[in-house]
């Protein structure tokens, strides 16, 4: 029965959390409030830290974590499926509609102007990540110059060697272990 309710809760989260993984947070806090036997609100920040430092979508990682804490491996799978199911159904429907109208001139004009906005949203997410990586905010603002230098080196390396992103992630992980940014 827990599994069914777990599925239902995550299905709701997947259906109403618009705007990416972090948008699931308020739903998780609500879940902790409604089902104190599932998880404790104080665990959520720890789960977020793990979700952000492991591969995969943050929202998916969170739902797996909460699902596991609540009902073990099966809970992890069911919770994640619940989260993903509304997305998949809605996106498939949107894609079908899009496919049917993409030759339409008006639709093409709409997308012509949506693309720069989409790009700007991606870039602004990039800026947020930049702020977290390159600025220290503990005692006022200060620039972490060592991190900036490493970032510039990585960028030049990326542009010159053009290898798979995972290679640079591995290099950065090792550099982080050795230097500690």
């Amino acid at each position: 029965m827990t599994l069914f309710f777990l599925f239902l809760e995550f299905f709701q989260t997947g259906l109403f959390a618009v705007g990416g993984g972090l948008a699931t947070l308020p739903f998780l806090y609500k879940m902790a409030e409604d089902h104190p036997d599932w998880l404790d609100a104080s665990q959520i920040m720890d789960m977020l830290a793990v979700s952000e430092s492991t591969p995969g979508a943050i929202g998916v990682n969170m739902s797996t974590y909460v699902g596991y804490e609540t009902a073990g491996v099966l809970g992890a799978v069911i919770g994640t499926f619940g989260l993903v199911l509304p997305s998949v159904v809605i996106v498939l429907a949107v894609a079908k509609v899009l496919n049917a109208v993409k030759e339409n001139k008006n639709v093409q004009n709409v997308f012509f102007c949506i693309r720069p906005a989409s790009m700007a949203l991606i870039a602004s997410a990039g800026l947020t990540v930049m702020k977290n990586a390159f600025l220290a905010t503990e005692n006022g603002f200060s620039v972490k110059w060592l991190s900036v230098l490493f970032g510039v080196i990585l960028f030049v390396l990326m542009r010159k060697t053009k290898k798979h992103p995972v290679l640079y992630i591995a290099i950065a992980a090792v550099a982080g272990c050795v230097i500690g940014f």
Binding site: L15, V50, A57, N61, V88, N109, I171, V174
Partner: protein, 185 residues
Amino acid sequence: MNTEKKYKNLLEIYTVFFRMGAVCFGGGYAMLPLIERELVIKRGWTTKENIIDYYALGQCTPGVIAVNTSTFVGNEVAGVWGGIIGTLGFITPSIAVITLIAALLSNFAHIEMVQRAFSGIRICVCVLIIDATLKLWKNAVKDRLGLVIFILTIVTACFVKISPVFYILFAGIVGFAAGKVGYIK
């Protein structure tokens, strides 16, 4: 298409998305450089323009952005089943990794080496997103109107926290109107 080829195709989709899910640190936006590399450049499964569109729609439809993008691209490559299989491939590593950590290493995020490694990874993810943004730039911003929309959106998004839906909706209306007055041919 014969059935055997179709299954092979789905298996390939699963594997490719599984690999992306296994190395995608930093959530939906960090997936962008991987998609650009694996799906556009290496396999030609989709185009840069389509990816930008999927990100626009993926932020407006409910759910996790990386999942929405996986479904969109999978669907483009092999229809409904492609969308489903691509998404399953992308989330499989998450389920495995998180379950292992939750079971065995509940203090994972507090391990010093993990924190140090992640301090490096965070910088790399940031550089990867910048790099991908620069690569996609000329596919997204093609004229002065596009530049104005880009600047307006990024400046507003930096100062006001409103849902991405509004920016996309606004830009779409501008595009529709610009077409009607004959600005876009």
